[in-house]
């Protein structure tokens, strides 16, 4: 991080803390919304480790998010302490991701997207049938035991607990992307064949990244279980996989904080629209389409875009006349 970046980081941290203090005063509804925002920030960032950093186009991350959520929900019934339950959620999700990664490591590109999508769907339909996981109704009344450092039955305590977990996980992900491994991932993203001829075993790195991202998604799912207290099969549905990808694109892939920004905007937008209209999907679709067509590099690219527009030059490089 450069010197200017450090000031930005400090300013960002101050703003986040200030907001975190303010939210509990806005009422329980707002608390639930902003808990969801924090969780989606983590989920979108974990997905972007794959999309933006490694160019692994997974469309099945809901499987790991949902696995984390169900793990916590099931363990809460046996009164596991929250940290242990969350650790288990991460482990289960990461293990599932590892196996999925191994199975799918032979396919790349569009085929990979389709395959991960379908594998996610296997889990979804399986859980729909499963009595242990509560079938279509899912598991409700997920609650942490009322003891320990945090009394998570208190909404404000839960809020701080979720924020803390998300913050720690975000730091860990930041750590990973700036490590030597993170550099290797970006190299693979740019040109896998080139990377192979530097002696990097591309497939193994893809599986590793997939496992790490899966674990982080599992944590997000586990926190979601505590936040909403209900885990239904819908958390595993494929639209749940599309949503963090949407957030990453809207915020800006190829940057660390872009997806987080996208998560804040989209989650908040969904909340507002959900209250205003029954056909909120239409408006979400329009917003997403606008980003896909007009701002494909996301919110983080907007200042740059404006600068270039102001500079009188065209915002995007002119496409070659015809390239069939």
């Amino acid at each position: 991080m450069r010197a200017g970046g450090r000031w930005w980081a400090v300013a960002l941290a101050v703003a986040v803390v200030a907001w975190a203090v303010a939210v509990p005063r806005l009422g329980l509804g707002q608390l639930a919304l902003w808990e969801d925002v924090a969780i989606q920030v983590l989920f979108a960032t974990s997905v972007n480790l794959l999309l933006g950093y490694a160019n692994i186009p997974s469309f099945g991350q809901a499987a790991f998010y949902g696995a984390g959520a169900y793990t916590v929900a099931l363990l809460a019934q046996s009164a596991w302490p929250p940290l242990a339950a969350l650790a288990a959620a991460v482990a289960v999700a990461a293990a599932l991701a590892f196996v999925t990664g191994l199975i799918t490591s032979r396919v790349t590109g569009l085929a990979f997207s389709m395959v991960t999508l379908a594998i996610g769907q296997v889990l979804y339909t399986f859980v729909l049938q499963s009595n242990a996981a509560g079938g279509e109704g899912g598991i409700s009344g997920v609650a942490p035991p009322a003891r320990g450092l945090f009394d998570l039955t208190q909404p404000v305590h839960l809020w701080w607990f979720i924020l803390l977990c998300v913050a720690v996980a975000m730091l860990a992900l930041w750590w990973v992307v700036s490590s030597p491994f993170g550099r290797a991932l970006t190299a693979i993203r740019e040109d896998p064949k080139r990377a192979a001829f530097l002696g990097i075993a591309v497939r193994r790195y893809r599986v590793m990244a997939f496992t790490i991202a899966g674990g982080a998604a599992g944590l997000a799912g586990g926190l979601y279980a505590y936040s909403t207290t209900i885990v239904a099969p819908a958390v595993l549905n494929w639209t749940q996989s599309a949503s963090p990808i949407m957030m990453a694109l809207v915020g800006g892939m190829h940057t660390f904080l872009g997806p987080a920004l996208g998560a804040v905007l989209i989650t908040w937008l969904l909340y507002v629209l959900g209250q205003a209209t029954r056909a909120y999907l239409l408006y979400v679709g329009v917003v997403l389409l606008a980003f896909v067509l007009l701002v494909p590099r996301g919110i983080v690219s907007i200042p740059d875009l404006l600068r270039r527009l102001a500079g009188g030059r065209r915002a995007t490089g002119a496409a070659p006349e015809v390239t069939p």
Binding site: L51, N55, P57, F59, I103, T104, R106, V107, T108, G109, L110, A111, S113, M114, V115, L117, A118, I119, Q121, V122, T125, F126, L128, Q129, D191, P192, K193, N237, W238, T239, A242, I245, M246, L249, M253, R278, A279, Y280, L281, L282, Y283, V284, G285, V286, L288, L289, V292, L293, P296, A319, P324
Partner: protein
């Protein structure tokens, strides 16, 4: 004969369900094979076809001929909607990086579903089967609805029609040429943009046809758009990307397999499709009829 109907009845019902699956999957796989785009919005067009059929018939009980006319009309309307969206949107999608392209079609899916929510509401509506099709042929003591035979017939016509179009006509030759080598196609004077627009219209019309034929058998809700497209994708993966014949085999296999499982092992039935897909992926990643899928890393 108690034995025959235990086999024949689930077989017929499986085949008829497989036909609908085939119609939707063949449209998807054609678009994938020719334009190299995975169209999430495909399910949206399936849903539109179903609602169009409902709207054309106003949900009334009608005879066979008006029903057939309405189904064809719904497919044509859906195809027209597809043609329009190709000109407005897909033409831009083709040039995008993969994720952006996928999200573009996903946005379109959300928009189509949202439009349906506005236009037809969130609650299930029903379109009865055509008069005379509710009854059926008695097979060894069990009634098989005529509607199932009708669906199988439609599937047969669709297979022969598609095969004829792609193998025997000048347009089909252009489609195959462009699918294999887009650049060479345009060097030979083929208007690739026009072929693409027509192919999307055709693919989407097939989804619309599938939707219209499904309308009498389900409670119509906008959410079928999201649910059905994934099943169609699974069939495409099992059959092999871009292969119409593969989709046919896979769709019929899935239909019949699910139908038998519903009778014998109901708990496995609903996700057997995805299990089969996982199995195919492990043993033969390119699908039953597919060639190894080569794609540029982007």
């Amino acid at each position: 004969m108690a034995g025959i109907d235990a086999i024949l009845v689930p077989l017929l019902s499986g085949l008829s369900e497989g036909v609908v699956l085939f119609l939707v999957a063949s449209g998807l796989t054609l678009v994938l094979g020719v334009m190299r785009i995975a169209n999430f919005a495909h399910g949206g067009y399936f849903m539109l076809g179903a609602y169009f059929a409902y709207t054309l018939l106003r949900g009334q009980l009608v005879g066979v001929l008006p029903f057939v006319a309405a189904v064809l009309g719904a497919a044509a309307l859906t195809g027209a909607a597809g043609y329009l969206s190709e000109l407005l949107l897909f033409e831009r999608f083709y040039r995008m990086p993969r994720m952006q392209m996928l999200l573009g079609t996903y946005a379109l899916l959300l928009i189509l579903e949202g439009i349906a929510q506005q236009a037809w509401g969130l609650f299930p509506i029903t379109q009865p089967e055509p008069m005379g099709f509710i009854a059926g042929l008695t097979v060894g003591g069990t009634q098989v609805p005529y509607y199932e035979f009708f669906l199988i017939l439609v599937g047969l016509v669709a297979v022969v029609g598609l095969e004829y179009l792609l193998r025997r006509t000048a347009f089909g030759r252009q489609v195959r040429a462009v699918a294999e080598d887009r650049l060479m196609g345009s060097l030979l004077g083929i208007d690739v943009g026009r072929v693409y627009a027509l192919m999307l219209a055709l693919g989407v019309a097939l989804a619309g046809l599938g939707g219209a034929l499904t309308a009498p058998t389900v409670g119509l809700i906008p959410d079928i758009a999201v649910q059905f497209v994934i099943q169609a994708f699974a069939v495409v993966i099992i059959g092999g990307f871009g292969s119409v014949t593969g989709s046919l085999v896979a769709a019929l296999l899935v239909g019949v397999m699910t139908s038998f499982l519903v009778s014998f092992a109901p708990s496995v039935a609903s996700f057997s499709l995805y299990l089969l897909m996982a199995l195919v992926l492990l043993l033969r990643p390119q699908g039953i009829m597919g060639r190894p899928w080569e794609e540029e890393e982007r």
